[in-house]
Protein backbone atom coordinates (compact mmCIF):
# COMPACT_ATOMS: atom_id res chain seq x y z
CA UNK A 1 0.00 0.00 0.00
CA UNK A 2 1.36 3.39 -0.93
CA UNK A 3 1.44 5.91 1.89
CA UNK A 4 2.52 9.51 1.68
CA UNK A 5 3.54 9.74 5.34
CA UNK A 6 7.29 9.56 5.84
CA UNK A 7 8.39 6.55 7.86
CA UNK A 8 11.37 8.45 9.21
CA UNK A 9 10.11 11.91 10.25
CA UNK A 10 6.34 11.28 10.04
CA UNK A 11 5.78 14.33 7.83
CA UNK A 12 3.12 14.06 5.18
CA UNK A 13 3.28 15.17 1.57
CA UNK A 14 5.71 12.65 0.11
CA UNK A 15 6.18 12.87 -3.64
CA UNK A 16 6.33 10.00 -6.11
CA UNK A 17 9.66 9.75 -7.95
CA UNK A 18 9.27 6.50 -9.86
CA UNK A 19 7.10 3.43 -10.35
CA UNK A 20 8.44 -0.01 -11.16
CA UNK A 21 6.45 -2.08 -13.62
CA UNK A 22 6.35 -5.74 -14.47
CA UNK A 23 4.32 -6.88 -17.48
CA UNK A 24 2.64 -3.47 -17.57
CA UNK A 25 1.45 -3.46 -13.95
CA UNK A 26 2.86 -1.20 -11.24
CA UNK A 27 4.65 -3.41 -8.71
CA UNK A 28 6.10 -0.74 -6.44
CA UNK A 29 6.44 3.03 -6.05
CA UNK A 30 9.47 5.05 -4.91
CA UNK A 31 8.53 8.01 -2.69
CA UNK A 32 10.53 10.88 -1.23
CA UNK A 33 9.84 13.05 1.81
CA UNK A 34 10.42 16.73 1.01
CA UNK A 35 10.96 17.47 4.71
CA UNK A 36 13.76 15.04 5.66
CA UNK A 37 14.75 13.70 2.20
CA UNK A 38 14.08 10.08 3.14
CA UNK A 39 13.43 7.99 0.05
CA UNK A 40 11.73 4.61 0.13
CA UNK A 41 10.01 1.97 -1.91
CA UNK A 42 6.55 0.99 -0.73
CA UNK A 43 7.38 -2.70 -1.15
CA UNK A 44 10.13 -2.63 1.49
CA UNK A 45 9.80 -4.51 4.80
CA UNK A 46 7.79 -2.60 7.41
CA UNK A 47 10.75 -2.20 9.78
CA UNK A 48 12.40 0.05 7.19
CA UNK A 49 9.46 2.21 6.12
CA UNK A 50 6.61 1.98 8.64
CA UNK A 51 6.90 4.64 11.37
CA UNK A 52 5.28 2.25 13.87
CA UNK A 53 7.79 -0.52 13.13
CA UNK A 54 10.99 1.47 12.53
CA UNK A 55 13.68 1.75 15.19
CA UNK A 56 13.43 5.18 16.86
CA UNK A 57 17.25 5.36 16.68
CA UNK A 58 16.88 6.23 13.03
CA UNK A 59 14.09 8.78 13.28
CA UNK A 60 14.66 12.33 12.08
CA UNK A 61 13.20 15.21 14.07
CA UNK A 62 11.25 17.23 11.52
CA UNK A 63 10.83 20.02 14.07
CA UNK A 64 14.56 20.52 14.55
CA UNK A 65 16.33 20.14 11.24
CA UNK A 66 18.88 22.73 12.39
CA UNK A 67 20.50 20.11 14.60
CA UNK A 68 21.97 18.28 11.60
CA UNK A 69 25.44 19.64 10.80
CA UNK A 70 26.36 21.16 7.47
CA UNK A 71 29.51 19.70 5.94
CA UNK A 72 32.25 21.66 4.12
CA UNK A 73 31.78 25.01 5.78
CA UNK A 74 34.24 27.73 4.77
Amino acid sequence: MTTTVCGRCKSSGAVTDHQGRQDGAVVWTILRCPTCNFSWRDSEPARAIDPAARSPDFAVDAGDLQRYPKILQQ
Binding site: V15, D17, S39, E44, F58, L72
Partner: protein, 484 residues
Amino acid sequence: MNDLPNRARSISSLRDFLELLEDSGQAITWSDPVMPEPGVRNIAVAASRDANGAPAIVFDNITGYPGKRLAVGVHGSWDNIALLLGRPKGTTIRELFFEIAGRWGDQEAQISSVPEAQAPVHECRIEQDINLYDVLPVYRINEYDGGFYIGKASVASRDPLDPDNFGKQNVGIYRLQIQGPDSFTLMTIPSHDMGRQIMAAEREGVPLKIAVMLGNHPGLAVFAATPIGYEESEYSYASAMMGAPIRLTKSGNGIDILADSEIVIEAELQLGERALEGPFGEFPGSYSGVRKAPIFKVTAVSHRRDPIFENIYIGRGWTEHDTLIGLHTSAPIYAQLRENFPEVTAVNALYQHGLTGIISVKNRMAGFAKTVALRALSTPHGVMYLKNLIMVDADVDPFDLNQVMWALSTRTRADDIIVLPNMPAVPIDPSAVIPGKGHRLIIDATSYLPPDPVGEAHLVTPPTGDEIDALSKRIREMQLGALS
Protein backbone atom coordinates in the same frame (compact mmCIF):
# COMPACT_ATOMS: atom_id res chain seq x y z
CA MET B 1 44.60 -19.91 -18.38
CA ASN B 2 48.37 -19.61 -18.73
CA ASP B 3 47.95 -16.19 -20.31
CA LEU B 4 46.44 -14.59 -17.21
CA PRO B 5 48.86 -11.61 -17.13
CA ASN B 6 48.17 -10.79 -20.80
CA ARG B 7 44.46 -11.28 -20.37
CA ALA B 8 44.45 -8.93 -17.35
CA ARG B 9 46.33 -6.29 -19.31
CA SER B 10 43.85 -6.54 -22.19
CA ILE B 11 40.86 -5.62 -19.97
CA SER B 12 39.41 -2.26 -20.95
CA SER B 13 35.94 -2.41 -19.42
CA LEU B 14 33.71 -3.96 -16.78
CA ARG B 15 32.33 -6.28 -19.48
CA ASP B 16 35.80 -7.58 -20.33
CA PHE B 17 36.47 -8.27 -16.67
CA LEU B 18 33.12 -10.00 -16.08
CA GLU B 19 33.93 -12.27 -19.02
CA LEU B 20 37.32 -13.11 -17.53
CA LEU B 21 35.70 -13.76 -14.14
CA GLU B 22 33.03 -15.96 -15.68
CA ASP B 23 35.64 -18.01 -17.57
CA SER B 24 37.39 -18.54 -14.23
CA GLY B 25 34.26 -19.52 -12.31
CA GLN B 26 34.28 -16.15 -10.53
CA ALA B 27 31.06 -14.57 -11.85
CA ILE B 28 27.51 -15.89 -11.79
CA THR B 29 24.22 -14.61 -13.18
CA TRP B 30 21.24 -14.46 -10.80
CA SER B 31 18.19 -14.92 -13.00
CA ASP B 32 15.63 -15.95 -10.40
CA PRO B 33 13.19 -13.13 -9.62
CA VAL B 34 14.44 -11.04 -6.70
CA MET B 35 12.89 -8.07 -4.90
CA PRO B 36 15.16 -5.00 -4.66
CA GLU B 37 14.72 -5.08 -0.86
CA PRO B 38 15.73 -7.13 0.92
CA GLY B 39 16.63 -9.64 -1.79
CA VAL B 40 19.62 -7.96 -3.40
CA ARG B 41 21.18 -7.11 -0.03
CA ASN B 42 20.68 -10.64 1.28
CA ILE B 43 22.37 -12.22 -1.72
CA ALA B 44 25.26 -9.73 -1.68
CA VAL B 45 25.87 -10.30 2.04
CA ALA B 46 25.71 -14.08 1.65
CA ALA B 47 28.30 -13.92 -1.14
CA SER B 48 30.66 -11.69 0.81
CA ARG B 49 31.00 -14.26 3.59
CA ASP B 50 33.65 -15.89 1.40
CA ALA B 51 36.31 -13.19 1.24
CA ASN B 52 38.71 -15.53 -0.57
CA GLY B 53 36.51 -16.93 -3.29
CA ALA B 54 33.19 -15.04 -3.66
CA PRO B 55 32.05 -14.55 -7.26
CA ALA B 56 30.72 -11.38 -8.80
CA ILE B 57 26.93 -11.60 -9.15
CA VAL B 58 25.03 -10.15 -12.09
CA PHE B 59 21.28 -9.77 -11.46
CA ASP B 60 19.09 -9.68 -14.55
CA ASN B 61 15.61 -10.27 -13.12
CA ILE B 62 14.99 -7.72 -10.36
CA THR B 63 11.26 -7.19 -9.81
CA GLY B 64 10.16 -3.86 -11.27
CA TYR B 65 13.34 -3.43 -13.30
CA PRO B 66 12.68 -5.64 -16.35
CA GLY B 67 15.62 -5.77 -18.75
CA LYS B 68 17.99 -4.00 -16.37
CA ARG B 69 21.22 -5.50 -15.07
CA LEU B 70 22.99 -4.98 -11.76
CA ALA B 71 26.46 -6.27 -10.80
CA VAL B 72 27.72 -6.60 -7.22
CA GLY B 73 30.84 -8.16 -5.77
CA VAL B 74 33.00 -7.49 -8.84
CA HIS B 75 35.95 -6.84 -6.50
CA GLY B 76 34.39 -8.91 -3.73
CA SER B 77 37.06 -11.57 -3.17
CA TRP B 78 40.82 -11.99 -3.20
CA ASP B 79 40.43 -14.41 -6.11
CA ASN B 80 38.75 -11.69 -8.18
CA ILE B 81 41.49 -9.22 -7.23
CA ALA B 82 44.11 -11.85 -8.17
CA LEU B 83 42.57 -12.27 -11.63
CA LEU B 84 42.52 -8.50 -12.12
CA LEU B 85 46.24 -8.48 -11.38
CA GLY B 86 46.93 -11.35 -13.77
CA ARG B 87 47.52 -13.90 -11.02
CA PRO B 88 45.73 -17.24 -10.55
CA LYS B 89 42.96 -17.95 -8.08
CA GLY B 90 44.38 -19.00 -4.74
CA THR B 91 47.19 -16.44 -4.79
CA THR B 92 47.79 -15.42 -1.16
CA ILE B 93 47.04 -11.93 0.14
CA ARG B 94 50.73 -11.53 0.91
CA GLU B 95 51.63 -12.36 -2.70
CA LEU B 96 49.00 -9.93 -3.98
CA PHE B 97 50.40 -7.23 -1.71
CA PHE B 98 53.90 -7.65 -3.16
CA GLU B 99 52.44 -7.78 -6.69
CA ILE B 100 50.96 -4.31 -6.10
CA ALA B 101 53.95 -2.99 -4.18
CA GLY B 102 56.28 -4.16 -6.96
CA ARG B 103 54.36 -2.18 -9.55
CA TRP B 104 54.54 1.05 -7.56
CA GLY B 105 56.43 3.73 -9.48
CA ASP B 106 57.70 1.16 -11.93
CA GLN B 107 55.50 1.63 -14.99
CA GLU B 108 54.64 4.27 -17.55
CA ALA B 109 51.09 5.52 -18.00
CA GLN B 110 49.51 4.84 -21.39
CA ILE B 111 46.55 7.13 -22.04
CA SER B 112 44.72 7.06 -25.37
CA SER B 113 41.98 9.38 -26.54
CA VAL B 114 38.73 8.15 -28.11
CA PRO B 115 36.52 10.61 -30.05
CA GLU B 116 33.20 11.08 -28.31
CA ALA B 117 31.23 9.78 -31.29
CA GLN B 118 33.13 6.48 -31.11
CA ALA B 119 33.08 6.07 -27.34
CA PRO B 120 30.85 3.17 -26.21
CA VAL B 121 29.79 5.13 -23.12
CA HIS B 122 27.98 7.64 -25.37
CA GLU B 123 25.96 5.03 -27.30
CA CYS B 124 22.78 6.29 -25.58
CA ARG B 125 22.26 9.84 -24.38
CA ILE B 126 19.57 11.42 -22.15
CA GLU B 127 19.41 15.20 -21.93
CA GLN B 128 15.68 15.79 -21.32
CA ASP B 129 13.29 14.51 -18.64
CA ILE B 130 16.13 12.91 -16.74
CA ASN B 131 15.10 10.39 -14.10
CA LEU B 132 17.96 8.43 -12.56
CA TYR B 133 15.46 5.82 -11.42
CA ASP B 134 14.71 5.05 -15.08
CA VAL B 135 18.35 4.16 -15.66
CA LEU B 136 19.62 2.62 -12.41
CA PRO B 137 18.16 -0.49 -10.73
CA VAL B 138 18.81 0.88 -7.25
CA TYR B 139 18.02 -0.74 -3.90
CA ARG B 140 18.55 0.14 -0.25
CA ILE B 141 22.02 -1.16 0.58
CA ASN B 142 21.52 -1.31 4.38
CA GLU B 143 18.07 -1.21 5.91
CA TYR B 144 18.38 2.17 7.68
CA ASP B 145 20.17 4.02 4.90
CA GLY B 146 18.50 7.37 4.30
CA GLY B 147 17.77 6.57 0.68
CA PHE B 148 19.00 4.80 -2.42
CA TYR B 149 22.75 5.01 -2.68
CA ILE B 150 25.22 4.75 -5.50
CA GLY B 151 28.06 3.19 -3.55
CA LYS B 152 30.68 2.53 -6.21
CA ALA B 153 30.81 5.71 -8.26
CA SER B 154 34.10 6.98 -9.63
CA VAL B 155 33.57 10.73 -9.71
CA ALA B 156 35.73 12.76 -12.11
CA SER B 157 36.12 16.51 -11.86
CA ARG B 158 38.49 19.25 -12.90
CA ASP B 159 39.99 21.66 -10.41
CA PRO B 160 37.53 24.59 -10.57
CA LEU B 161 40.41 27.06 -10.22
CA ASP B 162 42.75 25.33 -12.70
CA PRO B 163 40.43 23.53 -15.10
CA ASP B 164 43.01 22.94 -17.85
CA ASN B 165 45.42 21.02 -15.62
CA PHE B 166 45.11 17.27 -16.39
CA GLY B 167 47.02 16.28 -13.28
CA LYS B 168 44.72 18.23 -10.96
CA GLN B 169 41.75 16.42 -12.40
CA ASN B 170 40.39 14.34 -9.59
CA VAL B 171 38.90 10.87 -9.75
CA GLY B 172 37.66 9.50 -6.47
CA ILE B 173 35.06 7.16 -5.05
CA TYR B 174 32.37 8.99 -3.12
CA ARG B 175 28.99 7.88 -1.86
CA LEU B 176 26.04 9.44 -3.65
CA GLN B 177 22.47 9.53 -2.34
CA ILE B 178 19.79 10.00 -4.97
CA GLN B 179 17.69 13.02 -4.02
CA GLY B 180 14.82 12.91 -6.49
CA PRO B 181 14.85 12.13 -10.21
CA ASP B 182 17.68 14.44 -11.26
CA SER B 183 19.63 15.32 -8.11
CA PHE B 184 22.03 13.64 -5.72
CA THR B 185 24.09 14.53 -2.69
CA LEU B 186 27.79 13.69 -2.49
CA MET B 187 29.49 12.98 0.83
CA THR B 188 33.08 14.03 1.26
CA ILE B 189 35.34 15.67 3.85
CA PRO B 190 37.63 18.70 3.49
CA SER B 191 40.78 16.56 3.31
CA HIS B 192 39.55 14.63 0.27
CA ASP B 193 40.23 16.05 -3.20
CA MET B 194 36.52 16.52 -3.93
CA GLY B 195 36.01 18.30 -0.63
CA ARG B 196 38.78 20.72 -1.53
CA GLN B 197 37.27 21.35 -4.95
CA ILE B 198 33.75 21.95 -3.62
CA MET B 199 35.03 24.41 -1.03
CA ALA B 200 37.17 26.21 -3.64
CA ALA B 201 34.24 26.51 -6.07
CA GLU B 202 31.93 27.87 -3.37
CA ARG B 203 34.56 30.28 -2.04
CA GLU B 204 35.26 31.73 -5.50
CA GLY B 205 31.72 31.40 -6.87
CA VAL B 206 32.82 29.38 -9.89
CA PRO B 207 31.02 26.35 -11.38
CA LEU B 208 32.03 22.81 -10.47
CA LYS B 209 31.02 20.20 -13.02
CA ILE B 210 31.51 16.51 -12.43
CA ALA B 211 31.09 13.24 -14.29
CA VAL B 212 30.00 10.21 -12.28
CA MET B 213 31.28 7.00 -13.89
CA LEU B 214 29.48 3.74 -13.08
CA GLY B 215 30.51 0.27 -14.20
CA ASN B 216 34.11 1.03 -14.98
CA HIS B 217 37.40 -0.51 -15.93
CA PRO B 218 37.98 -2.59 -12.78
CA GLY B 219 41.45 -1.13 -12.34
CA LEU B 220 40.05 2.36 -11.90
CA ALA B 221 37.77 1.41 -9.03
CA VAL B 222 40.79 -0.06 -7.29
CA PHE B 223 43.26 2.70 -7.96
CA ALA B 224 40.95 5.74 -7.83
CA ALA B 225 40.54 4.94 -4.15
CA THR B 226 44.28 4.96 -3.55
CA PRO B 227 45.56 7.90 -1.56
CA ILE B 228 48.03 9.51 -3.97
CA GLY B 229 49.12 13.13 -4.20
CA TYR B 230 46.64 15.85 -5.19
CA GLU B 231 48.48 16.68 -8.42
CA GLU B 232 48.83 13.09 -9.56
CA SER B 233 46.26 11.91 -12.12
CA GLU B 234 44.37 8.84 -11.00
CA TYR B 235 43.98 7.81 -14.67
CA SER B 236 47.74 7.86 -15.19
CA TYR B 237 48.25 6.05 -11.92
CA ALA B 238 45.68 3.36 -12.74
CA SER B 239 47.18 2.82 -16.19
CA ALA B 240 50.69 2.54 -14.78
CA MET B 241 49.62 0.16 -12.03
CA MET B 242 47.68 -2.04 -14.47
CA GLY B 243 50.55 -1.90 -16.97
CA ALA B 244 47.88 -1.34 -19.61
CA PRO B 245 46.38 1.47 -21.68
CA ILE B 246 43.42 3.48 -20.40
CA ARG B 247 40.97 4.78 -23.01
CA LEU B 248 39.59 8.22 -22.25
CA THR B 249 36.97 10.34 -23.94
CA LYS B 250 35.17 13.56 -23.01
CA SER B 251 31.89 13.79 -21.15
CA GLY B 252 29.28 16.18 -22.50
CA ASN B 253 30.36 18.70 -19.86
CA GLY B 254 34.02 18.56 -20.85
CA ILE B 255 35.58 16.20 -18.32
CA ASP B 256 37.92 13.32 -19.15
CA ILE B 257 36.05 10.07 -18.57
CA LEU B 258 36.63 6.41 -19.35
CA ALA B 259 35.44 5.68 -22.89
CA ASP B 260 34.19 2.20 -21.98
CA SER B 261 32.24 2.85 -18.78
CA GLU B 262 28.71 1.54 -18.61
CA ILE B 263 27.03 4.76 -17.42
CA VAL B 264 28.14 8.37 -16.93
CA ILE B 265 26.05 10.91 -15.05
CA GLU B 266 26.99 14.54 -15.77
CA ALA B 267 26.13 17.01 -13.02
CA GLU B 268 26.83 20.45 -11.62
CA LEU B 269 27.29 21.55 -8.02
CA GLN B 270 24.50 23.77 -6.68
CA LEU B 271 26.76 26.38 -5.09
CA GLY B 272 26.19 26.81 -1.37
CA GLU B 273 23.20 24.49 -1.24
CA ARG B 274 23.00 21.55 1.14
CA ALA B 275 20.48 18.76 1.56
CA LEU B 276 19.96 16.21 4.34
CA GLU B 277 22.07 13.14 3.61
CA GLY B 278 22.39 9.82 5.40
CA PRO B 279 22.54 7.74 7.39
CA PHE B 280 24.58 5.29 5.36
CA GLY B 281 26.02 1.98 6.55
CA GLU B 282 29.71 2.72 6.20
CA PHE B 283 32.94 0.74 6.17
CA PRO B 284 33.49 0.71 9.97
CA GLY B 285 30.32 -1.39 10.09
CA SER B 286 28.17 1.35 11.58
CA TYR B 287 25.84 3.99 10.23
CA SER B 288 27.01 7.51 9.55
CA GLY B 289 24.91 10.33 10.96
CA VAL B 290 22.49 12.58 9.12
CA ARG B 291 24.24 15.67 7.76
CA LYS B 292 23.65 18.43 5.24
CA ALA B 293 25.71 17.60 2.18
CA PRO B 294 26.44 19.35 -1.14
CA ILE B 295 23.84 18.71 -3.80
CA PHE B 296 24.40 18.22 -7.52
CA LYS B 297 21.90 18.65 -10.35
CA VAL B 298 22.09 16.13 -13.17
CA THR B 299 22.49 17.73 -16.60
CA ALA B 300 22.76 14.62 -18.80
CA VAL B 301 23.26 10.86 -18.69
CA SER B 302 25.21 8.76 -21.20
CA HIS B 303 25.22 4.98 -21.18
CA ARG B 304 26.12 1.96 -23.21
CA ARG B 305 23.33 -0.05 -24.77
CA ASP B 306 21.90 -2.47 -22.20
CA PRO B 307 24.08 -1.01 -19.44
CA ILE B 308 25.21 -2.81 -16.29
CA PHE B 309 24.78 -0.82 -13.08
CA GLU B 310 27.67 -1.79 -10.80
CA ASN B 311 27.17 -1.32 -7.08
CA ILE B 312 28.74 -2.57 -3.86
CA TYR B 313 27.65 -4.07 -0.57
CA ILE B 314 29.32 -2.15 2.22
CA GLY B 315 28.58 -2.46 5.91
CA ARG B 316 29.86 -4.59 8.73
CA GLY B 317 32.83 -6.54 7.32
CA TRP B 318 34.08 -8.39 5.57
CA THR B 319 32.53 -6.80 2.54
CA GLU B 320 33.52 -5.95 -1.01
CA HIS B 321 34.80 -2.63 0.30
CA ASP B 322 37.58 -4.44 2.18
CA THR B 323 38.80 -6.48 -0.78
CA LEU B 324 38.37 -3.53 -3.14
CA ILE B 325 40.62 -1.12 -1.31
CA GLY B 326 42.58 -3.10 1.27
CA LEU B 327 45.73 -3.82 -0.70
CA HIS B 328 45.79 -0.42 -2.28
CA THR B 329 45.52 1.17 1.10
CA SER B 330 48.49 -0.89 2.28
CA ALA B 331 50.85 -0.53 -0.70
CA PRO B 332 51.21 3.29 -0.71
CA ILE B 333 51.94 3.32 3.04
CA TYR B 334 54.61 0.67 2.41
CA ALA B 335 56.16 2.64 -0.47
CA GLN B 336 56.09 5.94 1.44
CA LEU B 337 57.65 4.41 4.56
CA ARG B 338 60.41 2.74 2.58
CA GLU B 339 61.49 6.11 1.17
CA ASN B 340 62.88 6.85 4.64
CA PHE B 341 63.03 3.44 6.23
CA PRO B 342 64.02 0.59 3.90
CA GLU B 343 63.84 -1.66 6.96
CA VAL B 344 60.04 -1.82 6.54
CA THR B 345 59.25 -5.22 5.01
CA ALA B 346 55.44 -5.24 4.65
CA VAL B 347 52.30 -3.28 5.58
CA ASN B 348 48.90 -4.83 6.26
CA ALA B 349 46.29 -2.07 6.45
CA LEU B 350 43.39 -4.27 5.31
CA TYR B 351 41.21 -3.64 8.32
CA GLN B 352 38.48 -1.03 7.96
CA HIS B 353 40.44 1.05 5.48
CA GLY B 354 43.48 1.04 7.75
CA LEU B 355 41.84 1.91 11.06
CA THR B 356 44.07 -0.93 12.20
CA GLY B 357 47.40 -1.54 10.50
CA ILE B 358 50.20 -4.03 11.06
CA ILE B 359 53.71 -3.12 9.93
CA SER B 360 56.69 -5.46 9.87
CA VAL B 361 60.13 -3.88 10.23
CA LYS B 362 63.74 -4.90 10.82
CA ASN B 363 64.64 -3.07 13.99
CA ARG B 364 67.69 -0.91 13.28
CA MET B 365 68.14 -0.22 16.98
CA ALA B 366 66.21 -0.63 20.18
CA GLY B 367 62.84 1.13 19.97
CA PHE B 368 63.19 1.82 16.23
CA ALA B 369 59.78 0.33 15.40
CA LYS B 370 58.14 3.12 17.39
CA THR B 371 59.94 5.70 15.23
CA VAL B 372 58.64 3.98 12.11
CA ALA B 373 55.13 3.93 13.57
CA LEU B 374 55.23 7.69 14.12
CA ARG B 375 56.34 8.17 10.51
CA ALA B 376 53.40 6.00 9.36
CA LEU B 377 51.03 8.40 11.11
CA SER B 378 52.30 11.22 8.88
CA THR B 379 51.78 9.43 5.56
CA PRO B 380 48.84 10.81 3.53
CA HIS B 381 46.57 7.95 4.60
CA GLY B 382 48.02 7.71 8.09
CA VAL B 383 47.10 11.30 8.93
CA MET B 384 43.40 10.45 9.18
CA TYR B 385 43.03 6.69 9.19
CA LEU B 386 45.84 4.73 10.91
CA LYS B 387 44.32 4.59 14.38
CA ASN B 388 45.74 1.36 15.81
CA LEU B 389 49.21 0.32 14.71
CA ILE B 390 50.82 -2.98 15.59
CA MET B 391 54.55 -3.13 14.87
CA VAL B 392 56.10 -6.57 14.36
CA ASP B 393 59.53 -7.84 13.41
CA ALA B 394 60.45 -8.82 9.88
CA ASP B 395 60.26 -12.50 10.88
CA VAL B 396 56.51 -12.08 11.45
CA ASP B 397 54.18 -12.04 8.44
CA PRO B 398 51.73 -9.17 9.11
CA PHE B 399 49.17 -10.88 6.86
CA ASP B 400 49.17 -13.98 9.10
CA LEU B 401 47.21 -13.01 12.20
CA ASN B 402 48.35 -16.13 14.08
CA GLN B 403 51.92 -14.88 13.75
CA VAL B 404 50.88 -11.36 14.77
CA MET B 405 49.19 -12.72 17.88
CA TRP B 406 52.37 -14.68 18.69
CA ALA B 407 54.36 -11.45 18.52
CA LEU B 408 51.83 -9.67 20.72
CA SER B 409 51.94 -12.52 23.21
CA THR B 410 55.72 -12.85 23.45
CA ARG B 411 57.23 -9.50 22.49
CA THR B 412 55.00 -6.87 24.04
CA ARG B 413 55.39 -5.24 27.43
CA ALA B 414 52.64 -3.00 28.72
CA ASP B 415 54.98 -0.03 28.49
CA ASP B 416 55.55 -0.78 24.79
CA ILE B 417 52.14 0.77 24.18
CA ILE B 418 51.87 4.41 23.21
CA VAL B 419 48.61 6.36 23.23
CA LEU B 420 48.58 9.65 21.38
CA PRO B 421 45.53 11.54 22.58
CA ASN B 422 43.30 13.93 20.66
CA MET B 423 44.69 13.39 17.18
CA PRO B 424 42.91 13.90 13.84
CA ALA B 425 40.52 11.07 13.07
CA VAL B 426 38.31 10.07 10.21
CA PRO B 427 34.88 11.44 11.16
CA ILE B 428 33.02 8.16 10.71
CA ASP B 429 35.14 6.24 13.23
CA PRO B 430 32.43 5.25 15.73
CA SER B 431 34.94 5.19 18.62
CA ALA B 432 36.09 8.78 18.16
CA VAL B 433 35.89 11.15 21.13
CA ILE B 434 34.04 13.50 18.85
CA PRO B 435 33.72 12.99 15.09
CA GLY B 436 37.03 14.03 13.55
CA LYS B 437 39.15 13.77 16.69
CA GLY B 438 40.37 10.71 18.53
CA HIS B 439 43.28 8.81 20.03
CA ARG B 440 45.98 6.81 18.30
CA LEU B 441 47.40 3.57 19.62
CA ILE B 442 50.82 2.12 18.83
CA ILE B 443 51.68 -1.35 20.08
CA ASP B 444 55.33 -2.23 19.65
CA ALA B 445 55.35 -6.02 19.36
CA THR B 446 58.93 -6.21 18.13
CA SER B 447 61.75 -7.99 19.95
CA TYR B 448 64.27 -6.39 22.25
CA LEU B 449 67.68 -5.21 21.11
CA PRO B 450 70.66 -3.85 23.08
CA PRO B 451 70.87 -1.77 25.16
CA ASP B 452 67.64 -3.36 26.36
CA PRO B 453 68.78 -5.73 29.13
CA VAL B 454 66.48 -8.58 28.10
CA GLY B 455 67.52 -8.90 24.48
CA GLU B 456 66.09 -11.32 21.95
CA ALA B 457 64.83 -14.67 23.27
CA HIS B 458 66.40 -17.90 22.06
CA LEU B 459 63.81 -18.78 19.48
CA VAL B 460 62.73 -22.14 18.23
CA THR B 461 63.30 -22.32 14.50
CA PRO B 462 60.74 -24.64 12.94
CA PRO B 463 61.55 -25.96 9.45
CA THR B 464 60.33 -23.73 6.61
CA GLY B 465 60.86 -23.42 2.88
CA ASP B 466 59.96 -25.27 -0.31
CA GLU B 467 60.17 -28.73 1.22
CA ILE B 468 57.70 -27.86 3.97
CA ASP B 469 55.41 -26.08 1.49
CA ALA B 470 55.40 -29.20 -0.70
CA LEU B 471 54.70 -31.44 2.28
CA SER B 472 51.85 -29.20 3.38
CA LYS B 473 50.35 -29.36 -0.10
CA ARG B 474 50.71 -33.16 -0.19
CA ILE B 475 48.99 -33.53 3.18
CA ARG B 476 46.12 -31.42 1.92
CA GLU B 477 45.86 -33.48 -1.27
CA MET B 478 45.87 -36.71 0.73
CA GLN B 479 43.15 -35.30 2.94
CA LEU B 480 41.03 -34.26 -0.04
CA GLY B 481 41.64 -37.63 -1.68
CA ALA B 482 40.41 -39.38 1.43
CA LEU B 483 37.23 -37.33 1.37
CA SER B 484 36.37 -37.92 -2.28
